[in-house]
């Protein structure tokens, strides 16, 4: 029998933050850090102010300009997105009024929220962090309980320092064995969603573990947790280890001095106890994971690069799935087509999933000495201004530019289309982002999700490509 006091990592963090229990299994949970961006944070701040409510601890709230801001060199407050400037100005004004640290358009620390928060040591093991952005789950990679919320919830968190949360069930996804060459964290998460469906994690907080997860560097762990929301999970998290501690050491917002030692000894207790029970367990053999690409309009349409587009599945009622037929029509793919036979028009490297320095290094390794295929528009958008600077210090920008990629300022950019920039109507794009939804990257744009290495290889080949042939 298991030890009744044994707890999962999630349960430990939950218990430490529980202010009060509410009806059923809900609780009032204390929130350590709140992050905002100009897209959804602006409206939360405006609404809070118009209701006459105050941000109780503005020093615990951070805001960045990432979603709407352009990424062209020499950018300013004007945007390709009509009315984008309104969001930028409103955000700047509201942050000033509320006394919130804003990473403004040309701030040297500006960048995508889920890139800069770890980079600056704002997210820390064992803390709760929320943001009105679904990919907040990325930040669970450092052993935090971090999850995406709506704007109203963000108002609640700012006004009360708490959120009313239904306790999720717990799931452990174990990645056993080591990854094969050229297989990345992106391939791991696409493989998982491809195997278990886009709703496979619904209702759960997922702890990722196993040898392959232990072996991932922190940036790759951020990629893995980033797409927990595409698995419909409440969030994803990974127990902090020595890599996490070394990653945070010396970062601007990380604990320092005496606090550092106290924090580290606390962080060292943040793991799921040996006898802790999860409500659900999934085991993945990493030898089964290949470079993975999506063929359709849901992340669950993920298959190995060597595979062909599958035949539509049959529903319980004996009918062919309407969603799958729609996806095939939208993407203009037919069953049994080889993925690598699909010619591309665009290649994008960026987003909170894959825009960190290790992602750019990985892509540059493939691009070095090679040229992007004729007719392919290729763009690289570093996740933060600091990542961009680091890449430039290493000469990666030159590799990207010489191969034919555009080299941009930091932001969310073409991960989603805000009425601004797109690869174009019905263009086929291979992208290191997280969502291949219909029209996500622009009206009727066809998106294939993949790792930055696979994007780079495909950009060179001019069609979806197996990166292993490029190393």
């Amino acid at each position: 029998m298991s030890n009744s006091t044994a707890m999962t990592l999630f349960e430990k963090i939950w218990q430490q933050h529980q202010v009060e229990s509410l009806d059923g299994d809900a609780a009032l949970i204390y929130i350590d850090r709140i992050f905002l961006h100009e897209r959804t944070g602006s409206i939360a701040l405006k609404s809070l102010a118009s209701d006459g409510r105050k941000v109780v601890n503005p020093e615990h709230v951070f805001c960045t300009m990432d979603h709407i801001v352009d990424t062209f060199p020499g950018r300013n407050d004007t945007t390709l997105m009509p009315s984008g400037t309104d969001f930028i100005l409103a955000t700047r004004e509201s942050c000033k009024e509320a006394g919130i640290r804003l990473f403004d358009v040309n701030d040297p620390q500006q960048g995508i929220v889920h890139v800069i928060s770890p980079e600056l040591g704002i997210v820390q093991p064992g803390c709760t962090l929320v943001c009105p952005d679904s990919h907040t789950c990325s930040q669970g990679a450092l052993g935090a309980l971090a999850w995406g919320i709506g704007s109203s919830e963000a108002e609640h968190a700012m006004a009360t320092k708490t959120l009313r949360v239904n306790k999720p069930k717990t799931m452990n996804v174990r990645f056993n064995g080591s990854l094969s060459k050229a297989v990345t964290a992106k391939d791991m998460i696409l493989h998982l969603i491809g195997q278990y469906g886009a709703a496979g994690g619904a209702g759960y907080v997922i702890e990722f573990s196993g040898k392959a997860v232990d072996e991932l560097e922190i940036e790759a762990r951020l990629t893995l947790c980033n797409m927990a929301v595409e698995f419909s999970a409440f969030s994803g998290l990974i127990a902090p280890d020595q890599k996490t501690i070394e990653y945070l050491r010396g970062k601007e917002h990380a604990p320092s001095g005496k606090n550092w030692d106290a924090a580290v000894s606390f962080w060292n207790q943040l793991y799921s106890d040996k006898d802790a029970e999860f409500d659900s367990i999934i085991e993945i053999d990493c030898q089964d994971i290949c470079p993975t690409i999506t063929w359709g309009t849901s992340p669950q349409h993920a298959i190995a690069v060597t595979d062909t587009v599958p035949e539509p599945s049959i529903n319980g009622n004996g009918k062919v799935s309407e969603s799958v037929l729609r996806a095939m029509h939208y993407m203009q793919v037919t069953p049994n087509t080889k993925l690598t036979d699909l010619a591309i028009d665009g290649a994008f490297i960026g987003s909170c999933t894959n825009s960190r320095i290790s992602d750019l290094r990985m892509a540059a390794e493939v691009l070095k000495g090679r040229k992007v295929a004729v007719g392919v528009k290729a763009i690289c958008v570093p996740g933060s201004t600091l990542v961009k600077q680091q890449a430039e210090a290493e000469g990666l920008d030159k590799i990207f530019i010489e191969s034919g990629f555009e080299w941009r300022e930091a932001g969310c950019s073409m991960c989603f289309y805000a009425g601004g920039e797109t690869f174009g109507h019905q263009k086929r794009v291979v992208t290191s982002t997280n969502r291949n939804f219909e029209s996500r990257q622009g009206p009727e744009t066809r998106s294939h999700l993949a790792s930055p290495a696979t994007v780079a290889a495909s950009a060179i080949a001019g069609h979806l490509a197996d990166v292993r042939e490029f190393l």
Binding site: K161, R164, N166, V229, N259, S298, F437
Partner: protein
């Protein structure tokens, strides 16, 4: 917030899985720093013939005369997955949607619904498919009745299907409460908690 106890209305089927919030409202339709004026952008990519246009697509369910005054949506698994944008819920609300019956929801979307007085109901897909078939025979007369207090959905043929909802969330909807107001009643408890928390975790203060 308006109270939600029961509702009867026309239901429209969107029987696919994974209808994401980009489908519910495309990013480009979120034009202002505002919660209002979003109803027009609801399902814009499917509802209109051209991106950014306003000419109704006659094939889209909500544009069909027989689905006039739709206030309930029926859908498959994982409705509202994807982006956290609350604009999706504000757009649905402005359009007049009171409840969504699906085989599952994206969790952020689900909470956003509760916050805005829209009732998300989870039923088995097979049940929703039968509701959908019944509704399609005559959408205006085969309306669906929802009772939140007693937690059941009743179709026009009299069949009842019970559903679950977390008690804390049910109270918010039934009483039309503002979550911030309710939580601020516990201000003292939060303050005390924070006081001792800051002693235990000084680096987070």
């Amino acid at each position: 917030m308006d109270k939600f106890t029961q509702h009867q209305g026309v239901a429209a089927p969107l029987m696919q899985s994974n209808i994401d919030t980009d489908v519910i409202i495309p990013s480009r339709e979120m034009k202002r720093v505002s919660k209002i004026g979003l109803g027009e952008g609801l399902f814009a990519n499917r509802r209109y013939t051209l991106p950014g246009g306003r000419e109704p697509n006659p094939d889209f369910v909500l544009n069909k005369l027989e689905y006039e005054n739709t206030s309930i949506l029926l859908s498959g698994k994982n409705f509202g997955c994807g982006s956290s944008r609350e604009h999706a819920v504000w757009a649905l609300k402005e359009y007049g949607i009171k409840a969504i019956i699906a085989a599952g929801f994206g969790s952020i979307f689900y909470n956003n619904c509760i916050r805005n007085g829209i009732l998300p109901i989870v039923l088995d897909l097979i049940v929703i498919e039968s509701l959908s078939a019944e509704v399609q025979e005559n959408p205006q007369s085969n309306q669906i009745c929802i009772n939140l207090v007693k937690q059941y959905v009743e179709s026009s043929n009299g069949k009842c299907h019970s559903f679950d909802i977390k008690p804390a969330q049910k109270v918010m909807l039934v009483e039309g409460l503002d979550a911030i107001d309710v939580t601020l009643k516990m201000k003292d408890e939060i303050f005390q908690f924070q006081h001792s928390y800051n002693k235990d975790f000084p680096w987070l203060n």
